[in-house]
């Protein structure tokens, strides 16, 4: 749940007064033009940067996992080793369902550096499954995925939601999922007009 949240990028407020709440088993899609602050909002939700104001209420601070533009893949490690590492960091989950879910079994022993952009993306998304965390934050998850892969991904999200998970994503592609859409444009931060300046110089 998000209450009156303000987020900033490089010390500059981008969004303010963002309010929404997500229930278990629900998916939320954030929309808005480029530069409107979707990535910044997701990073703030993931705890990677402090909010500018307001607060984020989650049942457990370790419930969230984030998949950004970069997949965190090491080129010299194999697909299996990459996935195995994240699984062990998050408490040793089995990686087989993740490999199956994103059709990576055949690629499991190839070095990740030799994968195509779409295959890398699938590996990056498979990481979400091995973390075992209920809240997925996804930033443009379908970039460079082909149609079949998007369906694989939609399936994975659907199973995650059925299991009581939550997904919040910034995306423009309709994946055939039952989602609630939140447009971030109305929350754009306005410059406050003040004659004097305070500690923050604004």
């Amino acid at each position: 749940m998000v209450v009156d949240l303000g987020v900033s990028r490089g010390g500059v407020p981008v969004l303010e007064g963002v309010n929404f709440s997500v229930e278990a088993g629900e998916a939320l899609v954030l929309t808005g033009p480029n530069g409107s602050g979707k990535t910044t909002l997701l990073r703030t939700l993931a705890g990677l940067q402090p909010p500018h104001g307001g607060k984020i209420v989650v049942p457990d601070s370790e419930a969230i996992t984030y998949a950004g533009h970069a997949d965190g893949i090491k080129a010299v490690l194999s697909v299996r080793e990459n996935l195995d590492f994240w699984a062990r960091v998050h408490g040793g989950k089995d990686i087989a369902p993740a490999l199956d879910g994103f059709d990576l079994q055949a690629l499991a022993d190839r070095p990740a550096g030799s994968l195509s952009a779409g295959q890398k993306r699938r590996l990056g998304l498979a990481r979400l499954m091995v973390t075992g965390r209920p809240i997925w934050l996804l930033d443009e998850p379908t970039v460079s995925l082909d149609k079949a892969s998007v369906e694989l991904f939609a399936g994975a999200v659907r199973r995650h939601l059925e299991g009581g998970g939550i997904a919040v994503m910034a995306s423009h592609i309709d994946m055939g999922l039952d989602v609630r859409v939140v447009d971030v444009t109305p929350f754009r931060a306005r410059a406050q007009v003040t004659r004097t300046f305070d500690e923050a110089f604004l």
């Binding site: 940067q49 370790e62 996992t65 533009h69 970069a70 965190g72 010299v76």
Partner: protein
């Protein structure tokens, strides 16, 4: 934690990880010195402890910027920060991985290179011992510098500028142990002080590195 350690060592050893680079650099420095100062054995054996320590220190410096920069580039660092690992643990493991892949090989190679510089026989044990005790401090201090400069593109030069002054105490005591050992003097005082610097750095600097890394990830 152990998974992270294994991954970092694996990454360093595989192709493009730069595992051998530090060693090769160490070798080249040691080979170049006689060309610069002349081949007299007496002179070389007198300056050997200092040259070996400087060479090891510079070789250590060479791989520091890889500690966090690569993880930062491919997004792993963000993911690690949101993983259930304490930041202090991450930086400690990173420093340990750096020491295993850079510091330890230097310690092993040092006696071989010492032969090239005709280090007196009495000095070998103390050289290896001083490097063994001193190089962990170099890795931990270097990790702090790497954490400071992780957000800066091409921060390698700045990293050296920040880290080298911090290396002064370690270098002084480390080279002093090796020098006194080679001359057959007693080494207890500098050896204990070197150990104290290392323990101090290992105990406290990870907290500073973790704080700095959190500031950089925002």
């Amino acid at each position: 934690m152990i998974a992270l350690l294994i991954r970092d060592i694996r990454l360093a050893v595989r192709a493009g990880g730069g595992f051998g680079l530090g060693l090769a650099f160490f070798l080249i420095v040691v080979v170049l010195v006689p060309f610069a100062v002349g081949p007299e054995t007496t002179l070389l054996s007198r300056i050997a402890p200092g040259i070996l320590w400087i060479g090891a220190l510079l070789a250590c410096l060479l791989s520091l910027d890889r500690i966090f920069a690569l993880d930062r580039e491919d997004g792993s660092l963000d993911l690690l920060a949101s993983a259930p690992l304490p930041m202090e643990g991450i930086v400690t493991v990173k420093a340990l991985a750096h020491w295993i892949t850079t510091g330890l090989p230097l310690v092993v190679a040092a006696p071989v290179l010492a032969v090239l510089l005709s280090l007196p026989e009495a000095g070998f044990l103390w050289l290896v011992l001083s490097l063994l005790i001193g190089t962990p401090a170099l890795s931990v201090i270097g990790t702090f510098g790497a954490a400071l400069t992780v957000g800066i593109k091409r921060g390698g030069l700045l990293l050296s500028l920040l880290v080298l002054p911090l290396y002064v105490p370690t270098l002084i005591f480390g080279a002093e142990v090796a020098r006194r050992g080679a001359e057959g003097l007693e080494v207890d005082t500098p050896l204990f002080l070197l150990g104290a610097i290392t323990l101090f750095s290992v105990a406290l600097l990870p907290f500073a590195s973790a704080a700095v890394l959190r500031m950089n990830l925002r």
